[in-house]
Symmetry: C2
Subunit: 507 residues, 2 copies
């Protein structure tokens, strides 16, 4: 870095990760200019840098969905109260936190103050999820087994009236995709729910470089109205779990409440079998808490709006020569690909101090920063900083050498971020074999994941939740073993346990 560099001591995020994790998190987002709070309680503004990350996520998921035969559509955001009421558990789960539209006009009262007017006969609920309204439509579309499967995805905004909000992680309005499918057999619907879980797992690990544990939710943690809820759980750098995506096998519950019936191959009328699955802007919060460090945001290359930034270092005399060299590098790099896409690259030729500029890009998490000054122009070298390494570590490469290996460097960054996050998770996970050890483990505020046998008794879940703030994140499923069904003894009750579960505090 140039002599005018600002030092890490001055520039790093304050507080540091392990001083105050929640405040560090807010600062990382603020310093990367990803989002900020809005005048609307609990709603954030997603600024261009944060939204560009979401667009990359959307593009990747959207391609995966389409490849697996799903089609996008759009359904009304308003749900009539009667549709919403049909599924009892569902309404129980969402009624406490929904925005209700009751009027369709504003008019001035006696004092000239605008007040709601034209009250609706039936209030409308702003979708907290769309199973009920999409179910109404599916009931018209699914007439015969020939119409099935129906495989639909929607990109939409969602509202849940949250009391305590935090940017990306929990906001009143958020963005997501929600997949909704109908099948003619339960086996096919379960297969769909599981294959979308697999899709999310691959996406989290290969695209976001975020290791996750795929598994099933317990009865008490399921989606309201689901038969089975599958989840991917990631570990944040404070040891807490984040649910990064879910996929639900809904059985015939919503088919019954929405009247989705079809004539099967035997000419009999039958209820359909449905699934739903979703990933939201929350995953961006997970991304921040998985990879970022005390210097700010760290982005894996796939999800970085800018993958390489070229910063010219010049004075008045050397300006044009240095800039020319930067643009030559830009042009050459533009023809290079990373993970099947052209590399996203920028020259930052703003007239601000080199150190300030460097720190801006560090805080924005750009994977590779290249500095080119007169020394580099003369020696035909480039000076390369990797965001996953110390901001002081610079490697020098020959101009064309760098162009040739840039894809490998990006891949290496991705792998190193994944490996680092996986190691952190492993280092902060523990197999636990007694109740005492369990309570002891979760004494620490920064406890990670506990793997332990559990007999399935929901009272245990209630107890550890109220006493320790700990929940069962999932019963893991691995590719190798269909479910983690190693017989054992419940560490809480001493009863036989069919499975290990993962326990953690969570977002």
């Amino acid at each position: 870095m140039t002599e005018e560099s600002m030092t890490e001591e001055i520039c790093a995020v304050s507080p540091k990760r392990f001083e105050n994790f929640p405040e560090w998190y807010q600062q990382v987002i603020k310093l990367a200019d990803m989002a900020e709070n809005s005048p609307v309680r609990g709603c954030m503004v997603i600024k261009p840098w944060g939204y560009a990350i979401w667009e990359l996520i959307q593009k990747e998921l959207d391609e995966k969905f389409k490849e697996s035969g799903h089609k996008n559509a759009y359904f009304p955001m308003f749900i009539p109260l009667r549709c919403f009421e049909n599924e009892a558990k569902h309404v129980e789960g969402f009624a406490k936190e929904c925005a209700v539209v009751t009027h369709t006009r504003l008019q001035a009262d006696g004092n000239g103050k605008l007040v709601p007017a034209s009250e609706l006969e039936e209030p409308l609920i702003v979708r907290p999820t769309s199973e009920t309204i999409i179910g109404e439509m599916f009931s018209k579309w699914a007439k015969s087994y020939r119409d099935l499967p129906i495989k639909i995805n929607q990109w939409a905004n969602i509202v849940r009236w949250e009391m305590r909000t935090r940017m990306f992680l929990r906001t009143t309005e958020f963005l997501w995709q929600e997949g909704h499918t109908v099948h003619s057999t339960p086996e096919e619907a379960v297969e769909e729910a599981r294959s979308m879980l697999k899709c999310y797992t691959d996406f989290a690990e290969s695209f976001l470089a975020m290791p996750v544990i795929p598994g099933m939710k317990t009865e008490s943690e399921k989606f309201p109205g689901a038969e089975d809820t599958y989840t991917i759980e990631a570990m944040m750098q404070d040891g807490k779990a984040l649910q990064a995506g879910t996929s639900h096998f809904l059985g015939q519950n919503f088919a019954k409440s929405s009247n989705i019936k079809f004539i099967n191959r035997d000419g009999q009328e039958e209820y359909g079998w449905t699934t739903s699955w979703g990933v939201s802007t929350r995953v961006i919060g997970g991304l921040v808490m998985t990879h970022s460090d005390d210097n700010g945001l760290v982005l894996p290359p796939n999800v970085a709006p800018v993958q390489i930034v070229i910063c010219p270092i010049y004075n008045e005399d050397t300006r044009s020569e240095v800039l020319e060299c930067c643009h030559r590098l830009l042009d050459e790099l533009k023809s290079r690909m990373f993970d099947k896409h052209p590399i996203r690259i920028e020259v930052d030729d703003r007239d601000i101090r080199g150190g300030e500029k460097a720190w801006e890009w560090i805080k924005k998490g750009v994977p590779i920063r290249v500095e080119i000054g007169m020394r580099e122009v003369t020696s035909k070298n480039v000076c390369v900083y990797r965001r996953d390494e110390s901001p002081k570590t610079c490697k020098s490469f020959g101009f064309s050498e760098f162009v040739n290996i840039v894809g490998n460097i990006l891949l290496d960054i991705k792998n190193s971020l994944f490996g680092r996050a996986k190691k952190f998770r492993d280092d902060n996970s523990k197999h636990i074999s007694s109740r005492d050890e369990f309570f002891d483990y979760f004494k620490s505020e920064h406890a990670g994941f506990a793997h332990a046998h559990w007999c399935g008794d929901p009272k245990i879940e209630e107890q550890i939740k109220s006493e320790l703030g700990v929940s069962i994140r999932c019963i893991p499923i691995s590719d190798a073993q269909e479910s983690n069904s190693v017989q054992g003894t419940c560490i809480f009750t001493g009863n036989p346990s069919p499975q290990e579960a993962i326990f953690a505090r969570s977002y």
Copy 2:
């Protein structure tokens, strides 16, 4: 077409275009499976075929916006009443048709019926447009001239409580993009508003093959709160005008109501100059009414989710040979480009009757349908139907000849659709030089565009609106002449008129 073809008489849309245009329109949308009404009053469901069209529109516009330096972001959908109230004309324009959120919970009343609970202290308005909420944020982001221009775009859903709705054209909820910018001088803001109008004009004409007239709205037709509203106006096949996109120079009106102030180069505090501009799903309605015919939807190639469909014609014996040939064609066509994108192509190998299949694709508006049977396999030919020609007109091409010229055929279809629509507009436009002639022209329900001199008196506008249902669509701007400023005499008042205006009935 094959012998089992269904005849045009049976398959065409009923009613025909010129029998009952509004009903024809609904039928075209229904038969193409683009959208349908939902259980929510005034809200439609955009089905996969309709949504895929919207995605193509989004992709094209999004690229154009990004190329011209705009960045995407996302702002809350809820607007606090106080933000909304700040601009007087704006609130007047939208207060009569907005959805108001007043409660944040549902709870059971004495009879177990769910009713709204937890009333908000300040009601929230679901955005009918986002100038006010985005303005609030811009007031924090624009501190100095160095922060300007700010050029933001948002893809979002919008709610306006419409009394009479029609699919795509006017729905309570719709999808759109809204650009919002702040500039340090009025000149730069006007230039932005005009350059986005140019962007929309190019998009409409080159992408949608929809000829439009760019122009300015009169005082009474402006966006509530704008200084100037620019518009593109297209003619539908019933002669009515459709406003297909608008761009507003907002002066300092919203800057004042949202307090967007910056320090200019002279160190003085000044209000910013803002613009906004938008295109919505309404443009899909315009697309339908511009190109479609009595056989259903007609899609210009750029906006067709499938540009070429290959339909195999076979019996049990020839099935595998015919299918193999279809897939060979598919593979070869996949490497071909149209307008810089790979051609979107499908083989429809469903086991349904050939005629039924052909008519499905005709009604969906796919530009090219290729039929391959044993005769074609043997002769190494393909049988090609263009959607812009009669469904009975088939041209035979050699297999590789077709592969080589397919891009030209698509281009020719686009040009022919544009030419046809332009000719229709010219044939249905008239220069009018007297008041009597004007009233006479609009006696016909299917009158088109009248070009006539108008002195600028808004009373004339009121009168022709109430007596004829006709409005001034715009004062045209052409590239050649800055505005259509040919001096003349107002046909209504005999006063000097600085300009010709375009008069029409409209959607």
